[in-house]
Amino acid sequence: MTTRGATMAVFALLLAAGIVLEVFVRRRPGLPTLGEVLTRRTAVRIGVLLFWAFVGWHLFVRGSGAFE
């Protein structure tokens, strides 16, 4: 496997783990979803908002991939 393939495989593995955990907690009442963990406290929620805003700005306003 190439370095590129390994890098992408780890990202895919982490995404798959997140999906599995999200499905698992949604079937078990009382366990928090990712969204509940990230938005439970106001300070954390505002931090997540800033990160989400940064992602949008980075991808769409300063993105390099548009219409190449």
Binding site: R4, L21, P29, L31, G35, E36, W52, L59, F60, F67
Partner: protein, 145 residues
């Protein structure tokens, strides 16, 4: 008897939700047509950020948290989420500070190929809006105990 609004059952799509989804799709399609580094693109990103900020600063709904019997499982679950986020962040940073970029792609460099077409860019924008809606706009509720 109080209605359990913690997590809506699957298939409970309300008309208002359908309208929001359609409007968000149209918005994403239009926004995807703007070029980076232009004011229309900046404004298209700023508008949803400001809307999400209004919802994000609402105070949390008071609640008692998980029942004692579930506290252990709850904490383990929070720890699992944090571990996943830390791992993902560490891997992204490792890729970011490694070179060449072709061998060590970051999430944004991988997204470049998807975002090089209007539909791909619109889909990415819609996904970004969806994440914001799920995190900040959808009514927040306490986990069921």
């Amino acid at each position: 008897m109080a209605k359990d609004r913690t997590r809506e059952p699957a298939g409970s799509l309300r008309p208002a939700t359908v309208v929001v989804v359609v409007l968000a799709g149209v918005y994403a399609w239009v926004a995807a047509g703007f070029f980076p580094f232009t004011w229309p693109m900046r404004i298209a990103v700023i508008i949803p950020v400001l809307a999400a900020a209004v919802f994000a600063v609402r105070p949390s709904r008071p609640g008692g948290g998980p029942a004692p019997a579930r506290r252990r499982g709850y904490r383990r679950c929070v720890a699992a989420w944090i571990a996943l986020l830390v791992l993902a962040t560490a891997w992204e940073l490792l890729a970011l500070f490694s070179s060449p970029r072709d061998d060590h792609p970051t999430l944004s460099s991988m997204s470049d190929s998807v975002m090089s077409t209007h539909p791909g860019r619109a889909l990415t924008f819609a996904l970004w809006l969806l994440v914001g809606w799920l995190l900040f706009v959808r009514p927040r509720t306490e986990p069921r105990s």
